[in-house]
């Protein structure tokens, strides 16, 4: 895929020097860029308020998604069923399934 077209960049209110940030910010935030590439993006953002704003926006989005991890757990009914299943498999630690839950709650 070729570089973003100039009119696409202009419609975003960006100069050509911001193009790398738009194209690679996610790679940068995901720590997937080469050290050189990351340093280049970082240097540009240090001097470009527009790109910093975009970076903050994308960081907040990723943080909001990451927060979902803490928001829902396996239901107790599933834990009980799994404990029964492991018990019938002969697993001597079957009751740890429900204990683990108690620990995280306490």
């Amino acid at each position: 895929m070729s570089a973003p077209k100039q009119d696409q960049l202009e419609s975003l209110g960006l100069s050509a020097s911001c193009a790398d940030v738009v194209r690679h910010l996610w790679d940068y935030l995901d720590d997937q860029l080469t050290p050189d590439g990351a340093a280049r993006l970082k240097a540009h953002m240090a001097s470009c308020a527009k790109c910093r704003g975009y970076s903050d926006y994308q960081s907040c989005f990723l943080e909001a998604v990451a927060k979902l991890r803490a928001q829902f757990d396996a239901p107790d009914s599933l834990r009980s069923k799994l404990a029964e299943g492991l018990k019938s498999e002969g697993c001597s630690c079957w009751d740890e399934v429900t204990k683990a839950k108690a620990n995280t709650n306490g």
Binding site: W26, Y57, S77
Partner: protein
């Protein structure tokens, strides 16, 4: 779930040790496996079945787990296989050249949001419930990519192994998923007339 070979006879002491290892290494990831199963099945009852089968399979094949490696990754791989088998599904064939168009489209979403004064919705509001719903509505394989990397915080490499695709494919699926989520949330913000004034921002 039939085994082709009978399990080796092991002394009682080592069985107890194995069980304790299993409890220590595998069970703490139950919530994580459940969330992943739920993102695959999008159905509570189906997720329960997939998790149950995943853990029973993990227990039966605990001898194949290599100590010191990432147990959550191992469980997620089993989980995905259980799910695929339960659906008798082919591997998803949606593939994208790269993530550039999606990254650019996300930039457009941001530009529009800034123009309309809701570019700070992710910082300002608890968008958790809307976000979770939007992820549920994402099509596969984008939903799995977002769930594994962005919710469960796995590396691209781990997600690639679990989804059985190259790392570049994880990236393109992830970027498409993020773009679709941001478009969805931006359209929700517009729909509810969410502006700085409406949301009580002092900006």
């Amino acid at each position: 779930m039939t085994t082709l070979v009978s399990p080796p006879v092991v002394p009682a002491a080592s069985t107890a040790q194995r069980d304790a290892e299993f409890a220590r290494e595998a069970l703490p990831w139950l919530d994580d496996v459940y969330r992943f199963a739920l993102s695959l099945t999008r159905d509570d009852a189906d997720a329960d079945d997939v998790v149950q089968e995943t853990y029973l399979r993990a227990y039966r094949s605990w001898h194949t787990f290599i100590p010191g490696t990432d147990c959550r990754r191992w469980l997620f791989t089993i989980c995905r296989n259980v799910f695929l088998r339960s659906r008798e599904r082919q591997r998803p064939t949606v593939d994208l050249e790269d993530g550039e168009q999606d990254a650019l489209a996300a930039g457009s979403v941001y530009a529009a949001a800034r123009e309309n004064g809701y570019d700070d919705i992710y910082a300002r509001l608890d968008i958790g419930p809307a976000l979770r719903e939007a992820i549920d509505e994402l099509a596969e394989p984008f939903r799995s990519a977002v769930t594994l990397v962005d919710v469960e915080d796995l590396s691209y490499e781990a997600a690639a192994e679990i989804m059985d695709v190259p790392i570049g494919t994880v990236r393109s699926r992830l970027f498409r998923g993020r773009r679709l989520l941001q478009e969805k949330l931006a359209s929700l913000a517009a729909e509810y007339g969410l502006t700085p004034a409406a949301a009580g921002s002092a900006k």
